[in-house]
Amino acid sequence: MASGRQIKFGPIDVAIVGAGLGGAAFARRLAGRAPRLRILCFERGDWLDRANLPAQQPDWQRLSLGRWATSPNLRLQAGGNGISADYPIDDSGSDFKPLMWNGVGGSTINWAAHFPRLHPSDFKIRTLDGVGDDWPFSYFDLEPYYDLNDEAFGVSGLAGDPAYPPKKSRRMPPLPLGRLGAKAARAFDALGWHWWPVDAAINTVTEGTREACNHCGPCQQGCANGAKSSTDLTYWPRAIASGVGLRTNCIVQEIVVEGGVATGIRYRDGNGRDCWQPASTIVVAGNGIGTARLLMASGIESPALGRNLMFHPAAYVRGMFTEELDGPVGPVGCALYSHEFYETDETRGFKRGIHLQVTRENPLLVQASRLEPAWGAEAQRLLREEFRHSMAVLVMAEDLPELHNRVTMAREMEADGMPGVRVEYTLSREARRALDFGMARAEEMLRAAGAHRIVRVPLAPYTGWHLLGTARMGSDPATSVTNADGCCHAVPNVIVADGSLFPTAGACNPGSTIGALALKLADALVGARP
């Protein structure tokens, strides 16, 4: 409840919490649809300064493991980032460690910008495969918004992939596969398996002030030349030009609810002042952890809130080659993927499927830091064998929603003035089988490509980018937090607009779907159609 010591602002129509992918897409779409609405976004972090990113620094590798690590916990351990306003996450009970960015752009700042859509089957796995749940709408309901979101991000790629319904031609040609990708493509071709160059939200031609990618490598520490799309470069400039306000360094601590209706937000601004912002509608887009944390801290109740956390379990298989490959050159999330095993085939011993993605290598220091043994002459022999001679295949599986995988609150308060947060996640036996199957297929491909040695990483903890499912959509308030329009069953003028909404996760990266979904929800708020 607002107190007398607060700074009080005049009422607005829509307050958006979080300037990441969901919040930015929602803001831009809503402002375009309803220009008279007073819309303000509150972001806990700050704008990125592209003139001072690690890629321009001599110690860029060290920074990528410290203040610019992908894990907020690692950034905090290194003394904090200053732009990403991180909060600690107790992930000791989770097989995967949450990764994110807490500034303008959200995790699009340090994502790899691999930009696939979900498959149509991903929206109806209960109907098709008897597991999980169906989404409250279909791929084809979302398809126009996928197209709009593609247009906003500017996708490089190649149309015609038969793993998907036909997509519009990609605005830019695909990123170069490089030696590594070309070798993998030939192996997939020899095996008769599906492969396709990735859709990437990365410029391959210069557009305006955003240059074409120059293959520098460390996408996950921010893109220095702006080739990689992030919402601080895409949605936000347009949203602000449309009249949306964006207040940075503002930590929203509570959605105030009176009589089942949200009346506004209480937040701490960059000067540490307690502020009160009344609003008719509150939109929450703080990712699958931050959103659940804020809703719980605000006393918004639902049996499903915080539960059904999905991460996309991930494993890696690396092949070592005699000939020189690219190493840490080029966008890390590229070059190509295979959806040969994406759809369910029950003869494999599990339902649902896997995504295989041939990726670039990590920086030298990261490669050196993951060796086993970690030091000594043998470690250096392995590194010399591996560096610029390895090909990594990411195996990503679909994890089904499970109640025990969840986000919970701690009793202790954190420095940001909110209760601490804990993540509990255990890899299921079904997902384990899927990963094992995927690793075997990845090894098969790598052998076909000529790898002379294979290293398997059966579980890759620091892949927890995809924070999904903790405020899921549905029609039943007993099993879902929101309806199909993202409105909370318990407090209908609170709308969730991020990956928390996913009833199920598919087996590929969710960014494209999060953006499309946020656009759809903004239309729903004003009763518009695509």
Binding site: P58, P120, P162, P197, N214, H215, C216, L365
Partner: protein
């Protein structure tokens, strides 16, 4: 004694090799030793026998450090992480691995353009028809 011990420990962790060109041992890679010295103190304490370590053959030094790695894992890990970071940022090491010293930007890296012949093999993928379910 601390610096002598530090260099001996670093060379045990990162002895270099005789490749072409050779990787230098850590003591010759130009690492900033100031921070490493502080991190090395608990490791040296855990070793407990400076003269013995310095007099030991390379294989015995490895064995002694393995024991410290087991008994003082936090201190050992912190020292190793800093040693790895300094070493694999060091210009002589980058050069020995055929990697450039300059940071990734502003110059980026060259990657060969896509091979059109390879992309024509995607026609085989397309010819399989619809692979998605609805």
């Amino acid at each position: 004694m601390t610096r002598t011990m530090l260099l001996a420990i670093l060379d045990t962790m990162l002895p270099g090799d005789e490749g072409e060109p050779p990787l230098p041992p850590a003591s010759e890679a130009g690492l900033d030793l100031t921070r490493l010295e502080r991190l090395a103190e608990p490791v040296i304490t855990a070793l407990g026998e400076n003269d013995g370590f310095l007099a030991a053959a390379a294989a015995d030094r490895v064995a002694k450090l393995r024991i410290v790695e087991l008994n003082a894992p936090v201190a050992f890990k912190a020292l190793l992480a800093e040693a790895l970071a300094g070493y694999y940022e060091a210009p002589p090491v980058l050069a020995a691995l055929g990697w450039r010293v300059a940071p990734p930007q502003p110059h980026g890296h060259d990657v060969a353009p896509n091979d059109e012949a390879l992309f024509r093999t995607l026609e085989k993928v397309k010819s399989r028809g619809q692979l998605w379910r609805a």
